[in-house]
Symmetry: C2
Subunit: 386 residues, 2 copies
């Protein structure tokens, strides 16, 4: 009961910062005394700040305004990339801090070595938090692969991983939430708020994945394996993909394919190769532009299938595709217009991710934070009994 | 408030038929007097029956058992097919009655003429209800096309319709709910209950459409245009579809394509041509079997895209595909196995629709019924003030 009420009180403060205890009581229907004692706990755990007397609103007496605390428990976001490990901190108001990227090719390395690097990066992020004088409330970890409902990485082909328990490997006392990088990028995108609550975010790193968002919630599917748009077939007679099938989007229009088509040497980190591609595209290089156009057409074909199936009003290009958005948007939109049956009544917007390459790590931090904000009492008990 | 409580009481009776008023009060947390007066209204409107003293359960006194009334308001389902109009009645316990199919090719006819036929079929269904001595509570209408959130048929290409207000055309005092036939087939499938709450139902009539069901709810999309799997591309270089795009599933593996491939003359009603195809398949006709195998492979390719995106544990073959299930299931399953990245951890079941060709019309009746059962008080007020 206290757990439920505590969540209700905090949700109200997050939704309308500045409310007094009495106003929270009125909004939630809880007794004033109950609200006051819940708020005291939230203040003690630094989830809520008291900001001095509210400005007078004309009626009733002044109360102390309550706001989410920017120095409260932070979500620590981690992204295990194929050629980097990234971390960041997200504060209770949603602000992101201390974004760090540690380059390093993780392909073909022993998973224990990679996880040791990840643990070092996490230690670094804890040091960032300590330096800012803020607590870390939990970890979110983005992984480029299939993550099941229990957080086990069933397969991350580009890392060569199968059945890896990342949460156990990172150990520690904090809750650890592990999810697919595109799902977490979608969480980041939702939090960044381009004002859309229904979309498919397609994210290109070394691999290509998607986050499916309906009614403001990421749909992880029955087993957690949704969003595998990289293995949607765009040409049944196409070349064989690492997954064993033929003509998958990732194989034909993923970053490696675009770079090869454009005549840009693929190398680690991918970021550098993409930067070179963007340079050539900006200069109007014909081969680069033809490669981007071809990739955009195939991406549009796959996205048209998703939009025909789900009727979402927007698709979001994320990760590497976000950087290529200026050259991909037109062919993607053209395919959507050609292939989406309802296009005449509901044209689909083709947006670039607001967070670009940071989406997954920020989304990981947001997800860790959200786990606390939607169940603050569990956090409060954890820190007050520690 | 009464509206909410009335819905709660009826939901409890539907969930656990046989409860007494006191047991409903205990289960809902409402006062016994409140429950009793709500039940009186539900009984007066024939939504609930009193079934005499409950059998003794060993504790407490006996009460009158409450059950959903099979003679209460029925949902009248209508399906406007391309070459038939069908109707049925669905009683408050979910039982279906008086299923009627009126053959007749509706292609190229003026929409007013078709709607006049539909109105006649609806009158016939009302007569069926009158003969049974049961009231009709509302209509559900299944249409093979894009239906927007307001129930306007934006486009039904195989009927040649655009912007048709079916509800207004059918007039009358009853509420009319209009939706895409595949969405309503999915409603029927959910009610028929093969025990799955997450699936994609792909339904083949003249056209091919899908109902996307997640967490037990049909996802209609932002504008109501979801489920257009018939226009998912299965071969970018394929033949042109009526929608203007190339290589759509409907064009390459819809009933017309399968029949042509198999060398069976397409004719109205489609049903007869499919019956001939089924005969040939049963006899082991090579050409027919090759055609079904080819269609199943393409269907599997399109469904693999949907499963990769949504991670649903089952696909359901509906309408014409349900009749071909014995020959489609294997190639569909093979493609799912080949193309779904998570197939190893979550093999997808390939089911035949439990309702077959009746799914859309039964789903239409179920949807009309559900509108009453989820808001019984509105119905009660309607019939008691009439």
């Amino acid at each position: 009961m206290r757990r439920h009420n505590s969540a209700m009180v905090l949700a109200e403060v997050l939704r309308r910062p500045g409310l007094s205890r009495a106003e929270v009581a009125a909004a939630t229907g809880l007794a004033k005394a109950t609200v006051s004692s819940l708020v005291d706990r939230l203040v003690a755990a630094r989830l809520v700040d008291e900001t001095g007397p509210q400005s007078a609103t004309g009626r009733g007496r002044r109360g102390t305004g309550l706001t989410p605390s920017p120095t409260g428990p932070h979500g620590l976001g981690v992204e295990i990339g194929v050629d980097y490990v990234a971390t960041c901190l997200v504060d209770p108001t949603g602000g992101e801090h201390a974004h760090r990227v540690h380059p390093g090719d993780n392909r073909g390395r022993a998973e224990g070595d990679v996880l040791a690097d990840v643990a070092r990066a996490v230690s670094g992020a804890h040091a960032d938090a300590a330096e800012r004088g803020v607590p870390v409330g939990g970890l979110g970890v983005a992984v480029p692969g299939l993550v099941d409902g229990k957080g086990i990485v069933r397969a991350a082909p580009n890392l060569g991983w199968s059945d890896v328990d990342v949460a156990a490997a990172l150990g520690g006392d904090l809750p650890v939430l592990v999810d697919n990088e595109a799902n977490l990028a979608a969480v980041g995108e939702l939090a960044a708020g381009q004002g859309i609550r229904d979309f498919v975010l397609v994210s290109a790193e070394i691999g290509v994945g998607a986050g499916v968002v309906l009614d403001g919630a990421v749909r992880r599917g029955t087993h957690g394996f949704s969003g595998e748009i990289g293995h949607v077939c765009v040409d049944a007679a196409g070349p064989e993909c690492s997954c064993g099938a033929r003509g998958c989007l990732e194989r034909m229009a993923g970053p490696a394919a675009v770079l090869a088509d454009a005549g840009v040497r693929t190398r680690a980190p991918l970021d550098l190769a993409l930067a070179e591609l963007v340079d050539r595209l900006s200069e109007g290089d014909d081969r680069a532009r033809a490669a981007a156009h071809r990739a955009g057409t195939l991406l549009g074909l796959a996205l048209a299938g998703a939009v025909n199936l789900l009727d979402v009003p927007a698709v979001v290009l994320g990760g590497g595709y976000a950087r290529l958005h200026p050259w991909l948007a037109e062919p993607v939109a053209a395919e959507l217009d050609r292939r989406v049956v309802a296009a005449r009544w509901s044209p689909t917007r083709v947006l670039a991710s607001a967070l670009g390459a940071r989406a997954a790590v920020v989304g990981a931090g947001q997800a860790a934070l959200r786990a606390i904000l939607t169940d603050p009492d569990t956090y409060v008990r954890r820190v007050t009994t520690a």
